[in-house]
Symmetry: D2
Subunit: 364 residues, 4 copies
């Protein structure tokens, strides 16, 4: 069933398709009194926007956001203040070249939702991927921009840590570097390798997957719950809801399955002020579903773009065998643009749990 | 915030702690007319039950389930038929040796939720892990037993595929073998290796992590949704909500991030009856959040048991530095008992989406 | 907390204020394959639109609806077909005469939400009633237009049955008449009386309340649930969520509290085809929260418009005593325009329960 | 669809039938640190318990509540402290005289949910009313006992204000009187009249309806929301979910539809301390869906007990015409026992909105 809402108190509902009139989100439950500008939201959207380098799709999507409701414009003509009512943000679709898709309208593109859409709904908007288009994620990024402001002091940053068989060297991690290269990767040397690597893949008409890491700092201890609605569970849910994501990890993730209890234990000491100080963060900032106050660390795996030039065998909606070659404008590595999306989902999960924790316990 | 409910139409709410009077679940939205017996539910609980081999905790938990509501007992005295109203199942706690925990009441066990509980709630039931105890999962397994019956033809099976640094050989995969060894592993040779490996770990007072794979067959195509409430998202959410889980994968998971588009594509042909036939299943049976009709495949990583004999540095609730050694009865590899729990969560997710799909589309 | 969503499977989220850029709704969970046109939705909006007679506010609100997502436009250029994804409908605000409100920005209008808004949020959009403005209900009416199409054969009609101290004569009930007079009342003679009555009230700068009755025919038996999420409960919730509503009745309502069991019983016989036939409908088509197949009948009481010319004593946001006189353009009887809104809420509740019933039981 | 949960942050899920093993509730989201005893809960259950006078059913239901989870027992052996995890309370069914129902197993009792149950589920527990039995409400009363403690200073009291054609005189309203007579009515003179009136009705094998008023004092201003999830909407939803309720009013309710704007306006002055002071409370303590700080006042109409000795015409499940006479032990006026149930629902709604308001705004 369709259930396009994420969150419980900070509720983000997204709507809209790649080839409809517009798309957007409704944020319900946002606290009143939060100041922001459309330009701030736009900055995050621009990060996600295609066509910024030869490594992302050349579609032009201005992705200009408009805030339609839930705010009081201030006298400066820029600042908006949330009123506590639903904030609707809209992005109009402008560059809808439907003809690119016409010859695949009836062919089920392997790796895409074409086949499953038809099975599920019996109707499919062949002009694009419908809701399965990565375009929907613009709405999430817009919502994430507001979510970041809900928790005072929260900083959520993402970075691409591997592309195909290439990985970064974590010793070279530099957050400043992330915004300097087209891959949102924190290792300048890896950025150069990725450029060559992806260029070859792009020219071959192929594609490749990637792993993105999101780190949230300034998360107060105590957010989450011990069983369902664990903070890590909701982050996993949010990240797995991003297109093309096939795996999610918290902290050391799958590595935890390979090591021993004494290696995995995050020991605790007191710092110079007598506050708890963890000596490591294998847990990724979450124990028993509840934040520890350490940085929350999550990673997710994005599969290679399914739209490739290499012909792949498939069938048509009419039950004929066929081959599919995608000629449209697509990203050789969709993982790149997933970085701001992953940030947005983590920010939304934390904002939601911040309000829930305050509601149930009054301890914030 | 506490929100102990999983699912939207097939709603499972669990309640109860390890050291309270009882624990259980309420299944709301179960279709009417489903026949089952307490013995069937019990069989799944017994799989999860501790004390079955030297490789799991020696606590004795009879885990005897009772169905309290939502059913019409039939004349045979065994069969129960659901009436469409909430099914409450209860398991009484009997072996509550609180004294094992007394000396750790004030010490924050690394890797446990002790610290985060105190930060969150300001109160903690030191007699056990409270809701963070793996004991809560008995309620999920009970719910899963009913979930399996909601979708006609559904078969959900789990298997342990790696333990620490040891992995199975997938060429030796034999589902029959899973129930023959204490590790729920499908590779008889690996079972022997796991036995030696875990024995040494247990004797050393250490612990180790594991990876579990769950495969659901008989899942109709069309379950799920293209954006939020994707079938894979809800499975990820359910698996990540299991204690000690740090990572979740669907299909080829993180491997997808390492390969190219043409390798990852699951090509489609027509079978001899003219039906769609996928030539591979990298997608794990889900495309665009919607089931394809192929087996749904999910994996999750369980961290090593945090309770170990090796002293670990920590602090007390009173802000003193201390060391923690766990003397209680614990599993050297909690991943083993996570197998039936993982099955249960996948079964619940599929049952829920089955009802949701039927509700929205009427296409089942 | 803000929670601007109504329904569980047919989920309507509304957003937007009276004096913002736009308002609208997102309908999530709408079945695929439903055909409709913007003109059909517009027809319902026009019914609710102000400025249609001297008996409703003279604000001009074109209330032109646009469907932004969730549909496939058909080749005729008019027909839209739902795709099963979220349908967002937007209505732009055009006639926002903020100055009318300027002098009451700081005064708490008795009967309005001004005071409670300030207490709750600490911020209030003084340009209008914010979300409390009846303008929000346009979004509901748009959603209701689609809800009506979800249940085959469903007909939902509303009528004004009393205004102040004047009541209709039910023996003169004529559904055709409802669309012939400006009061949506089914009794032509009452329509004339209402005209004189309300004219005098309007000229006196006063206002008056009304009672609206909504009748849904073609509701299949079996919708609803025995305890929470009863069909009548959800209808009551929907109607009570309409601005200025202070009471809700199902069937004979408060009259049921005055009569005896044998008078209240709806006896059942078999009709000529052997089908169950109720001899009366005191229950209003719902027994134990579940629809009987008879017409569903609900009534709701709308208080008199709070904005009146008579000065009323109040205080300012700064804690000064003051008097309030509303000079803006307002309805002398807001109950009139509540008729299509009540219809919409009943239609949405029934559509939601139709999908839920189909989901849980598969019996539709 | 079954959806047996009430509330959003203070979530009450009830389960259990009249003739099953047990019934109860799970309260999820209860704040930690709330002290209570089983005896306190029991006191409210005893109020609702049948068999206390000749005016209520003579069934004996000990209704002994047990708290199964979510609490830390204190050393005094009585006090329980909530831990923030789900509180499950259970009441075992002991007096299940199924034979009383045997001859009506196949007959659809007019006014009961027998017919609609069969249509909806295709299966019905003929041993009693299933979930439609008023017995389910014991679970609500238990939940309400805890809800009352969530909001500091909250006092929720209910009273029967009319029975059939007899009404109380509000000038004689005395809250102390409510607990002195078997009708929970605040007017001692009316109590005597009700006694004679109901005695005659009981002897005639008939039944009669009633109206109950619930008043909540100590409700902080600011709870609720301007559109959906209005405080009055959620109270209406809760009250309408009680068995046999056909109407709900807030404040002056249907009377508001009969009067003019200047009569209905609750004017505001400053009290001696400079605080806002309403001169009347037609609004019932709620404006625009948000609490004003005045007492919250709600009323609901309960229909006459459907089980009467007078034969009523009906049909059987096999499609035969028949007559139904109820011989079981039933209340001549179920409205009496609805008083503590109404209190419980109002308390739950207020507790829920208190937590939600604190969560979204942090203003408590």
């Amino acid at each position: 069933m369709s259930h396009n809402t994420y969150g419980h108190l900070f509720r983000v509902t997204t709507w809209g398709e790649s080839h409809g009139i517009a798309l957007g989100c409704v944020i319900d439950g946002c606290p009143p009194g939060i100041e922001f500008t459309e330009a701030e939201v736009q900055a995050y959207l621009d990060k996600r926007k295609p066509g910024q380098s030869k490594f992302t799709t050349q579609r032009r999507e201005p992705d200009q956001v408009r805030v339609l409701s839930g705010v009081m414009p201030q006298d400066d003509g820029e600042t908006l203040v949330t009123t506590g009512t639903p904030v609707c943000m809209m992005i109009q679709n402008t560059d809808q070249r439907s003809k690119d898709y016409s010859d695949i309208a009836k062919r089920y593109r392997p790796g895409h939702a074409d086949f499953t859409y038809d099975v599920k709904y019996g109707i499919r908007d062949h002009r694009g991927g419908g809701r399965s288009s990565a375009r929907e994620t613009a709405a999430r990024v817009a919502a994430g921009a507001l979510a970041r402001k809900v928790v005072p002091g929260l900083v959520v940053r993402g970075a691409l840590v591997s592309m195909g068989t290439k990985e970064i060297d974590r010793d070279r991690w530099d957050w400043e570097e992330v915004n300097r290269n087209p891959f949102f990767t924190p290792d300048p040397q890896a950025a150069e390798e990725f450029a060559d690597y992806l260029d070859a893949i792009r020219k071959a008409g192929s594609s490749v997957g990637a792993v993105i890491e999101v780190v949230a700092e300034g998360v107060p201890a105590g957010l989450g719950a011990p069983v369902y609605a664990k903070l890590d569970q909701d982050i996993a849910s949010g990240l797995m809801s991003i297109n093309a994501v096939k795996g999610v990890e918290i902290g050391n993730g799958f590595e935890a399955a390979r090591i021993r209890g004494e290696e995995n234990a995050d020991e605790i000491r007191l710092d110079e002020y007598g506050n708890p100080s963890f000596l490591s963060n294998n847990a990724g900032g979450i124990l028993g579903g509840i934040s520890t106050g350490q940085p929350v660390v999550a990673r997710f795996a994005v599969k290679p773009t399914s739209s490739i030039l290499t012909p792949t065998r498939s069938i048509t909606a009419d039950g004929e065998e066929t081959e599919v070659v995608t000629k449209g404008r697509h990203d050789p590595c969709v993982g790149i643009r997933a970085v701001p999306i992953g940030e947005a989902m983590v920010a939304c999960a934390i904002a939601d749990h911040y309000l829930r924790h305050r509601g149930q316990t009054g301890r914030i």
